[in-house]
Amino acid sequence: MKKLVQDFEVLQRKELNDEHFVLDVKALEPLPEIHPGQFVNVLVKDSNTTFLRRPLSIHFVDYERNTISLYIKKIGDGTKKLGELKEGDTLNIVYPLGNQYSIPNNANTLLVGGGCGVAPLLYLAKHLKEAGNNVTTLLGVRSEKDAVELDAYKEYGNILVTTEDGSFGEKGYPTQHSVLEKEKFDYVFTCGPEPMMKAVAAYSAQKNIPCEVSLENTMACGFGACLCCVTETTEGNKCTCTEGPVFNINDLKW
């Protein structure tokens, strides 16, 4: 798949809560095929402390509007600057990068997201539903105000939430949710903080369910040139950007 570097036009910025926002950006040429799990690397302007691009998961693709949606958490100055972009602004993007989640057919699938790691799961849920799968999305957040975009997930299946403070859904971490014992899943997909993904991987391994995780290693280029984002696999160091970000847990040394 050919990688591109292009200017996109900002269509809108939706604030989800005080930390997270979704940026819809419109391609000036027809979008290429983009797979769930892939990411973009965006150029941040006017930030003295942001030297490198910022890799961001693709949250959603709307081919009718020719847009990509990016789910972003304000962490440092770079992501804060992205949170100041307005309609009509330009965003330079290198994409589509990385591999993709596997899409089974007619299976019972579980998607587990935590924090900013929910980013790639919405587009994945769409593809899974279109392939005839039953989709359950389980989001782990801190409290009710972080449980956002639930209606969007509902379009593609069930949506379940855990909150750390118990203000919404079940109290606790996603790996403590009752659905994990109640229901039998055929595939598990996860993205989020590493401790959460490791707990999801342990659950999947114990139940003997295939499990794919998306890693967020820091990187410079995003297309296999810098060799900075490696993760240890059973076949040696692999670049998260080109051979990931999605890995089957059996291939990782977790």
Binding site: K2, K3, L4, V5, L43, N48, T49, T50, F51, L52, R53, V94, N217, T218, M219, A220, C221, F223, G224, A225, C226, L227, C228, C229, V230, T231, E232, G236, N237
Partner: protein
């Protein structure tokens, strides 16, 4: 038409823009973004006698106007390069240089001898300046005696253009440059990364698995420019300048300081099309300043 062609002794470049080793993969990673034939040369990933896994993650930290890396020469070894990679890239219509590194002199010699047999590789860049390996690497490039000994040994087996990449982590880079010139180096490239370090105050941990790493990007440009100018005034062989070049203006500055050619490194990560833009930008600069031949700009710094 302005002339952009330069010569590093016997090695002709269609323009002075090359890519820095370790920032450009094997060229293939950039084929989607640019036409490689528009470049003066590409210097592929550092290659060693044997396979190296490199250092553990994390290997990179962003810093003000730059980045630290501690990749540690991850590569599959010279035999893999000759058998698997070379056949895929040998058709590129540009100069392909292999960056050769090692832990002991014998490794450098064996690797260089094998690359010497590859018809479409007209030169090697001898890396005596990698700061991210425990043995060898930069250790060879930080004393005149060891720099001279490795260049002398490689010169005996390597018959084509021998470029030697110098470390900035020395007291006087001109002494090292003179030492490698005396042993038969055809050109020198400088600078490799500056040894640096980053700490996360919140977690009180180093940001790199190796604690220290190599600093690159615009943060090092003034240091690199100074060293190119010093070496230009100390040796007679051509100089390839690098260190934080982000655009054509930066490239022109290195040429004015004495570089015959330049390499673009870290900037490739931020704009994968930057190399082509620099070629065009140099040409625009020459037209704007009414310079017919790029060679007229090399070292053309009037110093009172």
């Amino acid at each position: 038409m302005v002339n952009l062609g330069v010569k590093l002794k016997d090695l002709s470049l269609k323009n002075p823009v090359m890519t820095a080793s370790g920032t450009f993969g094997f060229g293939e990673e950039f084929e989607d973004f640019i036409d490689l034939s528009n470049l003066g040369g590409i210097i592929v990933k550092g290659t060693t006698r044997h396979h190296r896994e490199g250092n553990p993650y994390p290997r990179m930290a962003e810093t003000p106007s730059g980045m630290l890396n501690a990749v540690g020469l991850q590569n599959k070894g010279v035999e893999n390069f000759c058998k698997e990679i070379y056949p895929r890239i040998k058709h590129y219509d540009t100069n392909i240089l292999v960056n050769v590194s090692g832990s002991v002199i014998e490794d450098y010699v064996e690797t260089a001898a094998m690359i010497n047999e590859l018809e479409h590789i007209p030169a090697i860049e001898l890396n005596i300046s990698c700061p991210n390996v425990k043995e060898g690497g930069m250790a060879f490039g930080t004393s005149c005696a060891s720099a001279a000994s490795v260049v002398k040994a490689v010169r005996e087996v390597y018959k084509k253009h021998l470029m030697v990449k110098l470390s900035p982590n020395v007291t006087d880079i001109t002494e090292i440059a003179k030492a490698v010139e005396a042993e038969g180096a055809d050109s020198v490239s400088l600078i490799n990364t500056l040894l640096g370090m980053a700490i996360d105050a919140e977690t009180r941990k180093p940001l790199l698995s190796t604690v220290t790493g190599g600093l690159s990007g615009p943060a090092v440009k003034p240091v690199a420019l100074r060293m190119v100018w010093q070496v230009f005034n100390a040796v007679n062989i051509p100089i390839v300048g690098l260190g934080g070049i982000m655009n054509a203006k930066d490239a022109i500055e290195f040429i004015l300081a004495g570089a015959t050619a330049i390499q673009i490194g870290t900037a490739n990560f931020i704009d994968p099309q930057v190399t082509e833009k620099v070629v065009v930008g140099i040409e625009d600069y020459m037209k704007r300043h009414n310079v017919q031949d790029i060679n007229d700009l090399i070292g053309a710094l009037p110093i009172q």
